[in-house]
Symmetry: C2
Subunit: 255 residues, 2 copies
């Protein structure tokens, strides 16, 4: 079984290629354009999007992109980095509602009330493209493909949330963690990274909060998966050794 050292492969795990420094946003140059808002647009249309997405914003690890209550003005496309979103109850309890990576859109929760309803925090040094929302609406009244794709992005968020509700409502601890790992693996694959091997940007506590579990339970589930030989865990470094039993865990509850 392939537990050999990962020496040569780490390179594409932490570093997202092509980290352009210039703050002139340029969807047309961006390697994420097939994942992100420009998807399906013609070159000409992307050029118009370029002009609108005027600025970028860099965030250090731990910095907030926005906080619950902040006035809503823009949505954000993640260019590089990794984020979490969380909501807070008055009594201090909080819940991580999602983890977002390159090419994904943040901030759509703010449209309804013209203020953000959750916090978005960078889990590593990150860079986002700022998309002023009124301008996006303006442009999507002119570019049908942009309008349609934006609707799909919002709808995808709703579908994703339903998946999390399913997870929180019906799954047991190990099923939740399996679903979480498979989901990450899937998303890394889409971005051209290894599906088997990746680095978790979040703590066990944050994973637990997202999955509706305590951090100790998350840790135990990781240990269990490792004992069973499904994965290898070294702190935040995860390697999926055998994906089948993880998938099977989701396929039938009674196991």
């Amino acid at each position: 079984m392939q537990i050999k050292s990962t020496s040569g492969h780490d390179v594409n795990l932490n570093v997202i290629p092509l980290n352009i420094t210039s703050l002139k946003a340029a969807c047309s140059q961006c390697n994420l354009r097939e994942l992100c808002l420009p998807f399906g647009l013609t070159e000409k249309e992307i050029a118009r999007l370029d002009r609108m997405v005027a600025s970028r914003r860099r965030l250090k690890r731990g910095q907030h992109l926005y906080r619950a209550g902040d006035p809503f003005e823009a949505i954000y496309a993640i260019k590089t980095g990794f984020f979490k979103t969380d909501v807070l109850l008055e009594d201090g309890r909080d819940q991580v509602t999602g983890f977002q990576m390159a090419g994904e859109i943040l901030g759509m929760d703010g449209i309804s009330a013209e203020a953000h309803t959750c916090n978005a925090v960078a889990l590593e040094d990150s860079e986002v493209c700022v998309i002023p929302f009124l301008q996006l609406e303006g442009l999507s009244r002119e570019i049908e493909a942009l309008q349609h794709h934006f609707h799909k992005v919002m709808s995808r968020e709703i579908v994703r949330d339903h998946g999390v509700m399913m997870l929180l409502g019906t799954m047991r601890a190990e099923e939740r963690l399996a679903a979480f790992l498979l989901n990450l693996s899937q998303r890394f694959t889409t971005r051209g990274y290894s599906p088997q091997e990746f680095h978790l940007r979040m703590t066990r506590e944050e994973i637990g909060s997202y999955l509706g579990l305590k951090l100790e339970t998350v840790s135990r589930a990781f240990s269990r998966f490792q004992e069973e030989g499904f994965i290898s865990v070294q702190q935040k470094h995860i390697r999926i050794l055998d994906i089948a039993p993880l998938k099977q865990l989701l396929a039938h509850s009674s196991a």
Copy 2:
């Protein structure tokens, strides 16, 4: 303790006033237009919406409005009645993802994949307005207020889902039920019905599925609330006697 019969008040609980029979949709005539898609539009703009929302559909209790996998063509505005949406896992487990009432929009989950991802079932005889989606996109490219309001409606769905995730991830059984009852009460109020007294359209099992609990736990929580004098329960008829302790249940976890 006032558990006396509610004889004189039932009238506005089950029957939604103004049940027009003609199948010519007419947002301009609809008493829900301040809640539903036409919100914020001028009379002229509503008239254009009227022309687009060509048809209505009636459903008997138990009938599906759409099923997971059905091709996506339209979204639906609930004119009268009550729905649930649920998702199914291959192994048979399912999760109710929401309950929808008059003025709310169903079907936005289908936009992303051009197919519905959940089932929508009428919990009582209902009527919906069919809004062909491509036409809606077309019209909202022309009517800025319609576009913006539709985005708000989608965003509201995302925010609602985050609330449910919070509930499922961090709350205990009685807190979940309290949140559920307060949410229903709030929505009935918005629609001009009594906030204190209403009729549940769903079974204990459906409530349980939505709240991530078993039906027995839901039943026990109802009984507990009744013992404490917060509410009176007679089957599906609920009367909120003292709203404060329900709210308090949500305010601080340690109780």
